[in-house]
């Protein structure tokens, strides 16, 4: 019956369907890991397309890759690596019971995330200005004229930029969701929901953040660093 052994309110944060805290911890961690596996398959489709087309159209991919801003990309990579550090620090802080430090670190993570999105937005804006967005107004004449020795065709460069916008766009969407999760965690940590004893959601949210970082760690070399050596 509904009132017998099910309401274990004394154990903070334990949901009714679990027998004890350990089971809840194991279940939620496994849930997030499985979700990340689905995310790998989700991005995997685009990575496969990238692999095929880069093999077919290597010169065009290399030339188009030169046109995206390596400095902004590198800064963004550094920003995300730092944000991974602050996420780890926030988890460590709550484990040690330092609630305020945890909130601080989550807020810094949010700032890093927003900085990343801002810089990314600037890069996209530049691409719009340069008419490098695939579609009817696509124009890659500047790239072709800049690197005449590469002998590249404009059409496959559209494929590179299609992948560029799809991959960085969906990554940015994940960043936006990540910032949302971090804000939720920061708010409820500040309100005292999460403690030294019960901080599982912070760890799981951190797992998601790390995943989004790792995707970028792959996207950065694949999109920015195809062939950057100086041309003779």
């Amino acid at each position: 019956m509904a009132d017998t052994p099910l309401m274990t309110e004394h154990e903070e944060g334990l949901q009714h369907q679990f027998a004890d805290m350990q089971q809840q911890l194991n279940a939620t961690s496994l849930g997030m890991w499985l979700f990340l596996a689905t995310e790998i398959m989700f991005f995997g489709g685009m990575f496969l397309a990238y692999l095929v087309y880069r093999y077919w159209y290597y010169p065009e991919f290399a030339a188009a890759s030169r046109s995206i801003d390596i400095y902004l990309g590198t800064i963004n990579t550094a920003v995300l690596i730092c944000s991974s550090l602050t996420v780890v620090l926030s988890i460590q802080a709550i484990k040690l019971g330092k609630r305020k430090l945890c909130v601080m670190m989550l807020l810094v993570t949010i700032l890093f995330g927003l900085a990343f999105l801002g810089i990314k937005g600037k890069e996209w804006y530049d691409k719009f200005e340069e008419h490098h967005v695939p579609g009817t107004s696509f124009n890659a004449k500047d790239i072709i004229e800049k690197y005449p020795q590469l002998h590249v065709e404009p059409a496959p460069m559209q494929i590179f930029f299609s992948l560029y916008f799809a991959m960085t766009g969906l990554h940015a969407l994940h960043m936006v969701i990540g910032v949302g999760i971090m804000s939720y965690l920061a708010f409820y940590t500040w309100r005292g929901h999460y403690t030294q004893q019960y901080h599982n959601p912070v760890e799981i949210g951190g797992l998601y953040w790390h995943f989004v970082d790792i995707v970028w760690i792959y996207l950065f070399p694949l999109l920015y660093l195809i062939d950057r050596k100086p041309l003779r």
């Binding site: 019956m1 009714h16 496994l30 496969l48 159209y57």
Partner: protein, 543 residues
């Protein structure tokens, strides 16, 4: 009706709370299962309506009921509705939702709120699909092949693509919930080797849902981007490759067939031991064959592309890999047959569906081997042979299992018995109607009638008339259970906790079960399907 008073006193998941809010905001897996049941039943009849229109058009050789453009939309929406809004959610989201926590002895799924969320995602997707249907539909086939879907079709491809994208996330979250529940929430003593085979097949299904569906999601999203924002990933005029789309699409959509059939196999593995009063023959082999089907299923997708221009060598490899699926499938069929051998069989309604399943699935599977063979496949590609083959698997297999499972667990779900003679009559009607509908299509396809055309040469008319006649009988067989299930909820005889004398934890709790499934937390000390220890009921109660 004398026992109704007793039932009314006992609190269970159906009478614990009333009102629309208690259903729309529930996190009880059993109530969510019924929400799914309502939603997908609506879409089953929408998809069936399209099917009947298709069959009516094909009654005569001339294109007289509808014109080509409308016909294209009819078969496209029939496919999309039936696959993504009925077959994929059918057994996992309805029976799986209801049974998985009970079969593993848990109070609920691991993530009850995510479970509710996945229902709402399907509602959202279903709403978008309805919008797409009402505003004019989509004509790409259920396969969305590029560049037709991206550059040429003037129909609602974006809406349909996004609807299926969202439905996919519903399916992913359901699968995730099941995997976590099966791994982490089993009752004490319930080891992997004691799990019901239904759980094994739902586990294998969930793995496919987790690893396959995201690939379909990104593929359809890229199609949507291509239409909406002018990206060119599959656009041949810019160097993109439509074949890449087909690879990505079938990487999900072939395993998706196993999302439909594996849960049915799980249902059959529950029904047959119960009505044979025997432990299932070769438990380990049947359990592992589910996993094997899930694994092999990911390695055979390109057999949908034998004539699409892939290299001969890769076609040969995919042809051989496709044969490998036959091995675990045959293991199951032989083990079910061996379970029935010298069993004390009782031909109740669920058993009729189970036996129908074995026959129809075997035919569907064997004709699958024809299609896996390169030479024959080239001959019958895009003919009615293919249509008949996959309907034997998806309708003859998956839907028979779904209906069999609904009948088997209906006393547990509703606490009532359905009228047995009507159940048997409907089961036979479905079996006969199905064969009359689809067997002629094997012959039509072998004779060369191509699929997806609204008219055909007059010499094919006799077989098409037979098929259309069968489809009306099939429709009767599908409408009947809906009517008597609804009737039985109010007027059916009250069911015992275990009317069939079945093994399994779900039968050890009252019918309908209490909100948290068990009055006291179960502990398992017995092997699965211990029918030698369970007395057979004197006679199976007849509703």
């Amino acid at each position: 009706m004398a026992t109704t008073a007793v039932t009314a006193e006992r609190e269970h998941y159906l009478n614990t709370d009333y009102g629309i809010r208690s259903w729309l905001l529930t996190t009880d897996h059993k109530r969510i299962a019924l929400l799914y049941l309502a939603l997908i039943t609506v879409f089953f009849f929408i998809g069936g309506f399209f099917a009947l229109l298709i069959r009516l058009e094909l009654l005569t050789p001339a294109g007289d009921l509808v014109q080509a453009d409308t016909y294209n939309k009819l078969f496209s929406m029939h496919g999309q509705v039936m696959i993504f809004f009925f077959l994929i959610p059918s057994i996992p989201a309805v029976l799986g939702n209801f049974l998985v926590p009970m079969m593993v002895g848990a109070k609920d799924l691991a993530f009850p709120r995510i479970n509710l969320l996945s229902w709402y995602l399907l509602v959202l997707a279903a709403g978008m699909m309805l919008y797409c249907i009402i505003t004019g539909g989509v004509d790409t086939g259920w396969t969305f092949y590029t560049p037709f879907s991206t550059a040429f079709s003037n129909t609602h491809v974006i809406e349909a693509g996004l609807a299926i994208f969202i439905a996919g996330f519903s399916s992913i979250l359901t699968g995730l919930n099941f995997v976590v529940t099966i791994h982490r929430m089993r009752a004490p003593g319930l080891t992997w080797s004691r799990l019901p085979l239904f759980i094994w097949s739902i586990y294998a299904t969930s793995i496919i849902q987790l690893l396959g569906t995201p690939v379909l999601a990104i593929t359809l999203l890229l199609v949507v981007f291509e239409r909406a924002f002018g990206l060119g990933i599959f656009d041949p005029t810019r160097g993109g490759d439509p074949l890449l789309f087909q690879h990505l699409f079938w990487f999900y959509s072939h395993p998706a067939v196993y999302i439909m059939i594996l849960p049915s196999m799980g249902v059959i593995s529950e029904i047959i031991p119960c009505f044979s009063r025997k432990r299932v023959f070769g438990y380990g082999a049947v359990a592992l064959s589910s996993i094997a089907i899930a694994v092999f299923g990911f390695l055979v997708w390109a057999h949908h592309m034998f004539v699409a221009g892939i290299s001969l060598y890769s076609a040969m490899i995919f042809s051989m890999l496709s044969y490998s699926v036959a091995v675990p499938s045959a293991i199951k069929v032989f083990n079910w047959t061996a379970t029935m051998y010298k069993g004390s069989l009782r031909f109740s309604t669920p058993m009729l569906y189970a036996m129908g399943f074995i026959g129809l699935f075997t035919m569907g599977g064997l004709t699958g081997l024809f299609l896996a063979a390169l030479g024959i496949d080239v001959h019958v590609t895009d003919t009615y042979f293919v249509v008949a083959h996959f309907h034997y698997i998806m309708v003859g297999g998956a839907v028979m299992g779904y209906l069999g499972g609904l009948h088997f667990w209906w006393p547990k779900i509703s606490g009532r018995l359905y009228p047995e003679w009507l159940g048997k009559f409907a089961a036979l009607t479905v079996f006969l109607g199905f064969n009359l509908t689809f067997f002629p299509q094997f012959i039509l396809g072998y004779l060369g009638m191509p699929r997806r055309y609204w008219q055909y040469p007059p010499e094919f008319q006799v077989l098409n008339v037979l098929s259309t006649a069968g489809s009306t009988i099939l429709a009767v067989g599908y409408v009947l259970p809906m009517i008597y299930f609804l009737w039985s909820m109010r007027y059916g005889k009250v069911a015992d906790p275990n009317p069939w004398g079945a093994a399994g934890l779900e039968w050890k709790t009252p019918s309908p079960p209490p909100t948290f499934n068990f009055d006291e937390a179960p502990e398992v000390t017995w092997e699965a399907y211990n029918y030698d220890e369970i007395p057979a009921p004197e006679e199976v109660p007849v509703g």
